[in-house]
Symmetry: C2
Subunit: 418 residues, 2 copies
């Protein structure tokens, strides 16, 4: 059987599972999630064994230590995966809710009801915990899921999917609700994202190269973010101490993630006073500063920023710094070079706050807070399937509701159209 | 300048316009819409002249009389276009509304706000009124629009866009808010739908061939429906007279549109009594019936339905008829052969109603009403930019709200992530 046919058959089985999933009662789904968690706990030794094989193969293949760390399962990481499944069981069920309802003059009652999307494909990289997290969220929203993880984690992912599917089936999980693409051929991604007859949505999670490859080939709708080039703009009206705390947090608390700050914009009226404080605060933490000419005139120790720096997602302890003449210039910079992910203004003046939040064209815009809060957990969604910088369907952190769609049910008494 | 470059420059100008549009106050937008309508009225002679040239060229090219009718502008059709613009002015402005708002334990206030999508591309066929209707709806939701109508209507569409852009500019419409692709080359569609750096959403309106061509080439997200294969299922518990009225309306009131019924499903327990009534009601109206073997045994005058009939969107006075053993079999038929557009059950029994509405996987599901109600106006949206059978972002009739997205604005007091 060729690859296309194999994946199409997985798709057809997922569609059949999705029809059954749409009928499961909320309590049944939660019982199934608990059983999945129990099975992960029960199979800990088997999971560790599979992961050891992946780790050994990874070392042989010369994976970086950062990559090996992401790949590695430990007792506590497996316990965390099981806990996440139980946490998802505790979240409010989104399916079946009435979103709105209205009556027409002819007596028709129109009800807009939240329903599952259907079949969701998740394409991701080396972290095995994404396997169980994504499966749990898709399932809780009554979607079937097809998972395609990185080839480095194939043995771990196979063991995880077997555990949660088997655990769930004990309590009535429809077969094929959670499927893993087992071939590690690259071509599988290309085939998967073209299965528009079976898959309703693709969510790619990973680096820009992976996501561009998905979009380039996709026929199925994709929700994604390419990268996070996040800004903090410090207005002339800012509280300096607050701004420094936010800058340090946004840059240094976890520099390798998409909501970390990459570029600092400072109003020219305070630059001479404020930029030396920034340098004093960040240099001891190992941050490399790259400034425009105006910034380097104030802090000569800064390296020179080039045009490429304004577009850069460093994911490292590097910060681009630019002096701007006004909040309008800051907005213009963010809308030109940013990735519409997360951008912050630190300002006491309301007109500057208002202009920034109205005109910055990003999924999440912060006033006097760190960009690091762009996260499903921090937003109170309980969990997150990803972050979107798209404009359709879902923007910003995506929780359970973003894994649903709606349909209209119209109740009549024999009405016909005149 | 080559075609790609020309369209990319239109896209860049549309992005600039969209930024200005996002800042227009609701009252300003309504004044602009009124001025657009006034200018259409004032230029009636010029529009008629342009349309006469299109009509002459269409006759020379041998367009069908149905096509020529769609293309033709009359005094009253121009007056209707102007009236539609004024009606859109009267609709509630969707932009800036707070969709939701919540407080986090750390004091962060998260506000979800409705914002424009940005730049929308509309690809359509011969009807010139789509030009002004689509432009008005996109504008009211503060989006820039790039229009690509059928080549048969190019002179009419050019005159309409010139009129509404010029009328609007008198009251402050940003230049390039409403642009028309003036080349009639087919390749322009392919180029347009790949402009992901400039266009946020493509809405194709037309036949399945047009829409498949768009999806095949698109990098920009597309919202669409391919076709409307709509069903009416008559349950054993149905009121026969109600069912006959609904069937006649859904099939005959306007057979050429996407929400007209194409297939009738009848429960076997009532088929022997009910199907002769259907034939008696529809045959005098010129409807050709095509039945499965069970239906033809009851009404031998029916033609034979083949497998292809269950998938067919006739858009004509033809009706496929099938006898089914249960509501479950009806659901299975609809989910297998339908297009997830609009499907109805006629039934008095609640269990049948409930199963049908829960399990039929369509954008709009009717109980005891005609499928012909799937329409923005009939839903009370005031106007409609199209109908979606997709599952992301928008399903069913799409009004103004469906032309918007949201962003999160987060108000802090210096919060950082721990």
């Amino acid at each position: 059987m060729d690859l296309h046919q194999e994946l199409a058959e997985m798709g057809a089985r997922a569609v059949a599972a999705a029809r059954q999933l749409a009928l499961l009662a909320p309590r049944r789904k939660n019982t199934i999630l608990q059983a999945m968690a129990d099975e992960l706990d029960a199979r800990r030794a088997r999971l560790m064994q599979a992961n050891n094989e992946d780790m050994q193969a990874g070392k042989d293949a010369g994976l970086s230590s950062a990559m090996l760390d992401r790949l590695c399962l430990t007792d506590s990481r497996i316990a965390d995966m099981a806990k996440s499944l139980r946490d998802v069981a505790g979240l409010k069920d989104p399916i079946g809710a009435r979103i709105s309802r209205w009556l027409r003059p002819n007596g028709l009652e129109i009800v807009k009801i939240r329903v599952p999307i259907g079949v969701i494909g998740i394409i991701y990289e080396a972290r095995p915990n994404v396997t169980s997290d994504a499966a749990a969220l898709c399932f809780k929203a009554s979607n079937a899921v097809i998972l395609r993880g990185g080839k480095e984690a194939i043995r771990s992912n196979t063991a995880i999917v077997e555990a949660i599917q088997a655990g769930g089936e004990k309590k009535g999980l429809p077969p094929d609700s959670i499927q893993l693409v087992r071939t590690t051929e690259r071509q599988a991604v290309t085939e998967l994202v073209r299965l528009e007859d079976y898959i309703d949505l693709i969510i790619p999670r990973g680096g820009e190269t992976l996501i561009r490859a998905v979009v380039e080939n996709a026929r199925v709708p994709v929700i994604k973010h390419y990268k996070g080039v996040c800004h903090t703009y410090v207005d002339e009206s800012a509280d300096h101490e607050m701004a420094l705390r936010i800058i340090e947090n946004a840059k240094c608390q976890r520099p390798g993630v998409c909501n970390a700050m990459e570029t600092l914009l400072v109003h020219e009226a305070i630059a001479a006073e404020f930029l030396p404080k920034v340098a004093q605060r960040l240099q001891p933490l190992g941050v490399e500063l790259r400034g425009d000419p105006a910034a380097r005139q104030i802090v000569p120790a800064m390296k020179e920023a080039t045009e490429a720096d304004w577009y850069a997602e460093y994911l490292a302890l590097i910060l681009a710094v630019r002096v701007v003449p006004s909040v309008q210039a800051a907005i213009e910079h963010v809308n030109t070079y940013g990735s519409q992910h997360s951008d912050a203004i630190v300002a006491a003046a309301e007109p500057a706050q208002k202009a920034f939040t109205q005109e910055v064209n990003s999924a999440t815009v912060y006033i006097n807070a760190s960009t690091r809060f762009t996260d499903g957990g921090e937003f109170g969604m309980g969990a997150e399937i990803g972050i979107s910088t798209d404009k359709l369907h879902a923007r910003g952190p995506m929780g359970l509701e973003e894994l649903t769609t709606y349909k209209y049910v119209i109740y009549g008494k024999g009405q016909i159209r005149e």
